[in-house]
């Protein structure tokens, strides 16, 4: 049996795929993450609120998802000891809006900085586009992602590594003119997406309910979809066709899992992390720092595809009917989510009432609490869970379950994890590389 090692670069951090080959096809794939920073240990023994400073630094591309998961875990801890904490609508809206900015940024960056250049690599004549620091559209995309972050930074102070949340709400106190300014930035990003990415207005795009609408046009997404179809990407990269999302995202209001298209209620208490195959599994020979998240011992895909399958998005459901959970469906879902998030952000900006309080009396909260709490956030790459355990105000234990350990963990040859299953059976390293990247890899989150 032949074994090859492929180092996958140009992702958030770095990963190694160890591929086993049989009859010129990949028979098994080990996914290795070799950089570990011990963030959970760094958090220990610190005052609880210090976590709001430390967890954003887990990851430079989703720092605000982490700070939100942390504040939710802290608030849950208070609720668990009987403290009432009801956030104002304004605080909830601002938290979501700032998160949306981060997700839109992430998806634009992923598509333009990673996916398009990969397609370009496959066929330079067919696919002319998006060379970094060179092509017009690359600069436009860079401007769009910086601009959407301006919208967020009006409320978060900065991105990345803002710490704009506090127990009971948000720290900012915006003016009407701040809201107007945010709307202007949003409009600018919307225009870029309409002119370049989608080739039609966001409203029109959101009405499309068939993948065939995407193939004939001249927009960048249309061209990418047509090209991927030509390459047969509608047939590769399929995993278990099993999805999970824990809610608080437009269209997914409660924890739900989907087996193909059928939906079932779920509960975060059944989520666990397996140490199997990792260096943390004492006594056994591990090969990665990544743990694997499972729901009742089964692997589930998280991320935009999971969210859109669960929220019954008509275009993604159509794409799924034709191509199931192939790489093309996964990619379209992530690009589609940009439009949904833009629309949702517009609604949020329209509805924020600045006269409401930003935060509810957090100063009188007892600081030296002994409690436990769980925070769950839908981050760009999927469900992010923080579990905190505090003794007299000091962190005793902090558990971070990032989206990528759902998708990028390791199972066994009999029961591979999500990305492993999508890679097994492929006949080239290039395809394995592309399928792997379709999950939007983030190694810094995966191993922390």
């Amino acid at each position: 049996m032949k074994i090859t090692k492929e180092i996958i670069e140009r992702i958030e951090g770095e990963a190694t795929l160890e591929l086993e080959w049989k009859d010129k096809k990949i028979s098994y794939a080990k996914i290795k993450f070799l950089n570990y920073r011990a963030m959970e240990d760094i958090l220990k023994d610190r005052p609880m609120l210090d976590a709001l400073m430390i967890t954003p630094r887990v990851c430079g591309i989703c720092s605000h998802s982490h700070v939100n998961a942390t504040i939710e875990a802290i608030e849950d801890s208070y609720r668990n000891i009987g403290v009432e904490l009801e956030l104002t609508n304004k605080a909830k809206q601002i938290r979501e809006l700032v998160l949306n900015a981060e997700k839109i940024q992430n998806h634009i960056k992923w598509f333009y900085f990673l996916i398009l250049p990969e397609l370009f690599k496959i066929n330079k004549e067919k696919f002319v586009l998006a060379e970094s620091f060179k092509d017009k559209e690359w600069f436009e995309a860079q401007n769009a992602l910086a601009t959407v972050l301006k919208m967020g930074a009006i409320f978060s102070g900065q991105w990345p590594h803002g710490s704009y949340v506090m127990t009971g709400g948000v720290t900012c106190d915006p003016l009407e003119s701040d809201i107007l300014n945010a709307k202007n930035y949003l409009l600018e990003v919307k225009e870029f997406c309409e002119e370049r990415l989608y080739g039609c207005s966001i409203e029109e795009f959101l009405k499309l309910d068939s993948i065939s609408d995407l193939i004939d046009g001249n927009s960048t997404l249309d061209m990418a979809v047509a090209f991927m179809k030509e390459l047969g990407f509608n047939k590769i990269g399929k995993s278990y066709d099993r999805f999970i999302s824990f809610g608080d995202h437009k269209g997914v209001n409660e924890p739900v899992k989907a087996l193909k298209t059928r939906l079932f209620k779920t509960n975060v208490k059944f989520v666990s992390e397996s140490l199997k195959n990792s260096f943390f599994d004492k006594g056994n020979k591990g090969f990665t720092y990544s743990k694997s998240a499972v729901y009742k011992d089964n692997f589930y895909e998280v991320g935009p595809l999971a969210r859109l399958m669960i929220s019954k998005d008509s275009m993604i459901r159509d794409c799924h009917r034709r191509c199931t959970d192939s790489v093309i469906t996964r990619i379209i879902a992530r690009v589609k989510e940009i439009a949904l998030l833009l629309k949702r952000s517009e609604e949020l900006l329209e509805n924020i009432d600045i006269r409401e309080k930003s935060i509810i009396s957090p100063i009188h909260l007892p600081k030296n609490i002994t409690a436990q709490g769980v925070g769950v956030v839908e981050a760009a790459r999927g469900t992010l869970i923080h579990k905190i355990s505090v003794n007299e105000g000091k962190i005793v234990n902090f558990d971070i379950i990032p989206p990528t350990v759902w998708n990028l963990g390791n199972g066994s040859p009999e029961k591979p994890a999500i990305a492993q299953k999508a890679i097994i059976g492929l006949d080239s390293v290039e395809k394995a590389d592309f399928v792997f990247k379709s999950f939007d890899i983030c190694s810094v989150c995966t191993t922390q």
Partner: protein, 302 residues
Amino acid sequence: MSDFHPKKTIVWIQGITCNGDSHSFFNYSGMKNFANNFKIIYHPLLITSYDLEAILANEDRYDYLIVEGSFTKVRDYVDRSGYSFEHLVENLSKRVDYIICAGTCASYGGIFRERDKINITGALFSGDEEGGYWNENKKVINIPGCPLHPRWLVDTLLILKEGKPLLLDEFFRPKEVFSYFVHHGCLRNEYFEWKIDTKGFGEKEGCLFYEQGCRGPMTHANCNKILWNEVSSKTRAGSPCLGCTEPDFPRENVYETKTRMSLPAVPYGVSKRAYYTITGVAKSFRIDRLERKLIGDEHEDY
């Protein structure tokens, strides 16, 4: 681009990192101008003409080595395409004119130094102590910040490229950025002058220095002069400065102001006697305007 004005070359590598400085750089608002002046030969998150292996194998000279993330010689702490961080640094640092430490981690060790304060450091410092990865290296320029502001990086690169004098302070930081304090330009300055505390978070009014742990008056950086993402800053968004550009970042108990005999620490370079005297005088007056909401009818029940 004419031959008389060639682009300067950049190789960007990472130690122990969260990628935050890269992502902050991607927010830079003058990216076309950047691209007219510089060519990124290698960056781990971008498609570049060379991969890491090719860069390490050739013998070309480059102008700037940008290092993001903490420095370490421990093999287990970092793996980059199968190479140790030490290998990357030893190979590349000799072939460049300047080594630019992008961010607090590369400058002082930063957040990841909390894991192992002996073996995880900055290039020339370990926290505020001299001696990091190197004891001496005249090529190093430190641009701390968690993350750094994209302008701090690109302005520095442009000043170097144009051959203008780049003045550095005792921490090898560009003086144009780090002679300022986060306090400068803070919209809460008047409350600071009259020692009026904010009434909790989520308010435009009041100063965050007395209760909420704000480090603005002792943190070197021009955040409130040039603003983040060109629109705001931590203190403008009601959040205390966490002192993320300083060698002692991350401090403990950051959302609380440490006091001695109920007096906070004093702003950088101000004597205790001067500060506490002026505080006593300021506090003895009650300024009605500053006790009221900035805009009257907000937050009232309706």
